[in-house]
Symmetry: C2
Subunit: 202 residues, 2 copies
């Protein structure tokens, strides 16, 4: 027969109460240690699983961003139909093209790098440098993309009010692709922001 104090402690352990760790004395020390260890291992396993999911998720998001900005770039660059129907007569469309090229290069490079890291297990940069670069890159690319896409919208609206032809349709689709790429990179920036903040708590 155990005494009531010990029985209560045992009960606390089964309920997983956080009081156990604080209240462990010389008598209940071993039970507390055991409990702490098992929580630690489960926590680490959960953490690994979450990190793996985040890694694959951000790879997928950057892949989408690459696809959409490549489409935006190709549609805009091929949109020359002579006279006023040349995209390069308007500064907003040159801006859309420039940002689409930049983000295509950025997200393509990031995808290649991450696929290389996942397949070989070798890391080109230190982890702390890499997460900082990821976060600032994603966030800046997202801001640039929404800025370019928004700059292109008003002129396109004004043109489509008077006429609807292959030039204005291509403009609209290129701008939409920029918006989609923005959504993918904005989500990816949230994921890499989370990685950046949680890395110092390992």
């Amino acid at each position: 027969m155990t005494n009531p104090e010990e029985a209560k402690q045992q009960q606390d352990v089964h309920e997983g109460s956080p009081k156990v760790v604080e209240a462990r004395g010389p008598a209940g020390g071993d039970v507390g240690n055991q409990r702490e260890e098992s929580v630690g291992v489960a926590g680490i396993l959960r953490r690994w699983k979450r990190e793996d999911l985040l890694r694959r998720g951000s790879l997928g998001l950057r892949g989408l961003a690459f696809l959409f900005s490549l489409l935006s770039f190709i549609i805009m660059a091929s949109n020359k139909h002579g006279d006023w129907k040349d995209f390069d007569r308007y500064e907003e469309y040159r801006y859309v093209l420039a940002i689409a090229i930049l983000t295509t290069l950025y997200s393509g490079g990031q995808c290649l790098l991450k696929v290389h890291e996942l397949s070989t297990g070798k890391y080109l940069f230190q982890r702390s440098t890499s997460v900082l670069f990821d976060f600032s890159g994603d966030q800046m690319a997202a801001y640039l993309l929404i800025s370019a896409a928004s700059a292109g919208v008003p002129m396109t609206n004004r043109m489509r009010e008077s006429q609807d032809n292959i030039f204005t349709d291509s403009l609209a689709s290129s701008i939409s692709m920029s918006f989609f790429a923005f959504f993918a990179l904005a989500l990816s920036a949230v994921v890499s922001g989370y990685k950046l903040s949680s890395q110092s708590y390992i």
Copy 2:
């Protein structure tokens, strides 16, 4: 005179080696606990200091965002000089005005709420709700602001190529204020994103 095993453990403690916590046996248990506790207290104090700094920092950034978006709103709303020189004949300037009003309300409300919380110590919302709302609010307001400011730029450039008057100057200054408000809110979004990610590791 202590035995060599104990002397080694003491040395480990002074060097702050993480081995101590893992390797503590029934003999070195007390030393290990003491060490763990002092690290914990220093860590908590550092954390409090950092959180206080972040709280004041994000309050200051939101104050700046409020100031700049209020200026942008006032300058744009008073920019009517008859005929083609009315801001509300152009969709991009109506967009700039609408977003300036929204972000003025948002950042003003956030400032009031945070000042109220800092002065009374009472929190209107649960901490987890509040940080999630802060982060998504800041981030969305930043995206809206850069989108509105970018949308306004091309038409203003085109007008200023032909003439430079009080209408185009006011447009340019209102758009610049929107950009400044964007920078403040983008920084504030990084701070609240950090708070959001670090809250579960208390």
